[in-house]
């Protein structure tokens, strides 16, 4: 039962914002000692596990390609592409950006968006000015709500689509954790089963965007 202390170390360490790498090392040590292992045994077990799971970090092999294309204006091109939406309503802008981010993350183009790269300079201002044009003015409260919704749209789209990309760290972490339990699963099978949730996210968040668009068209009650 004392082996559960390791879990407590992980939870408390992350909750108190210690550096995760140190938290993990401490949790491994506590778990091993509580499980009656010799310190060298723990070190060897952790070293062997790290060596056996190198494929998880092997995904960083793609960085030179992404960096090279960023150097040639990948993010600027993505901005030009999305900027063509000018003139659409706020809810259309948010919905099209949502679908665009689902598709780009599913094929590994996570770099084609982001809060600093796209939401702040482009999506939030475009949605704000579209709503402003429709209403002839915008209260601060609504302005903030539109911005928050734009950030939420980025997060929901990326979170629930990125695992469709076969070679992303979470997919391989799933593979590695199952392997630790003695189960062989391929990255392709794991990423395929991420698709139903991506479609569910599209339905739920798409519906919310539509409702948000309707709420935006209503005149505000005087504050």
């Amino acid at each position: 039962m004392w082996t559960l202390l390791g879990i407590a170390v992980v939870v408390a360490g992350f909750a108190f914002r210690f550096n995760p790498l140190l938290v993990i090392a401490a949790a491994a040590a506590v778990t091993g000692i509580a499980g009656g292992m010799h310190p060298l045994e723990i070190l060897a077990a952790f070293g062997k596990a790290f060596n056996d799971t190198r494929y998880i970090s092997a995904v960083f092999v793609v960085l030179p390609v992404i960096g090279l294309m960023e150097r040639a204006g990948l993010q600027q091109r993505a901005r030009i592409l999305i900027g063509r939406l000018r003139g659409a309503t706020a809810s259309h802008i948010l919905f099209i950006y949502f679908v665009y981010r689902q598709i780009t993350s599913a094929v590994g183009l996570t770099a084609a968006g982001g809060h600093a790269q796209m939401v702040r300079p482009l999506i939030a201002p475009m949605a704000e000015s579209a709503a402003e044009a429709g209403l002839g003015g915008l209260s601060d409260g609504r302005r903030w709500h539109i911005r928050a919704f734009a950030a939420a749209t980025e997060n929901v789209a990326v979170f629930f689509s990125e695992d469709i990309f076969i070679a992303l760290a979470p997919v391989l972490l799933i593979q590695g954790t199952l392997a630790a339990g003695g189960i062989v699963a391929t990255p392709l099978s794991i990423s395929l089963w991420a698709i139903p949730t991506a479609l569910l996210a599209l339905t739920i968040h798409g519906l919310r965007i539509a409702l948000f668009g309707r709420a935006l068209r209503r005149k505000e009650p005087p504050a």
Binding site: L21, G32, R71, I80, G181, L200, I204
Partner: protein, 315 residues
Amino acid sequence: MIGYAPLYVVVGLFFAAYAALSVLDSANPRRPGNTAFWALLAVSFLFGSWLGDIANGVLVLALAGIGGFNLLGKAGAATTGAAERQASAVRRGNWLFAPVLIVPATALAGTLAFRGMHPPLFSAPALTLFWLGAGVLIALAAAMLWLRPPALAPLQEGRRLADTIGWAAILPQMLASLGAVFAVAGVGKAVGSVATNYLPLGLPFEAVAAYCIGMALFTVVMGNAFAAFPVMTAAIGLPLIVGKFHGDPAIMGAVGMLSGYCGTLATPMAANFNIVPAALLELPDRNGVIKAQIPTAVPLLIGNILLMYFLVYRY
């Protein structure tokens, strides 16, 4: 049979190059930290299989120490400026997406072409990643021929991104390793006995609900679904959903991780996704983004539980 070895050589050489370029990077005041970190990872990828378990353990501790005590800086790698990028984006058009798309296309095509070969040429778990690595080399060759950047540009740009990720680069691998230590020390059995004594987990649906809700709640507390995953999987996922009720492990893992992400949407602990954007957008309420996300997160978690329940015991 071809396993991970060829890919590890490529990855190891990339990391070795980042280490070498870090030595020369006088713009980074913490370059010894960056050099050591990427060099140790290069050693792990190139020679890890010959080092022995204890030496690998020492290597991990060194990596965790360098990353954990914040000894890494950011690359001052030479790259292009905003105006140059804008001009290139206008001139080259949407073809700029093509080299990046070569990578998943190659990975998928290679996987489908060589899957189910008799006798197998590739080991099953390594197949997709082998072709991912091949896709990267093809994409790099295509991009170099097309763009004609300086010869070192792919390595410098790779190092720029690697330094942006920093110590977090090894976080998923560290968590998976912790999961392995949990397995050796018998954590799964201990949690399983606690969970089955105090939670109603006698039915397949209850096991699924406990696993998905547990993933979301642990993620809210820790701010990181990756950290929750090995814990919940060792505790409830593997012993109950797979072991007792014979569910499919790939479906369980995929939907379980995504249930954790529902927790990520709802927690200020995931600062990068929730708090930093609120500041970036100048919202007066730092939890504004979270409030906009919760009405999506809750129905999506319920949907995930139902999806897993209907799929995991069927395939």
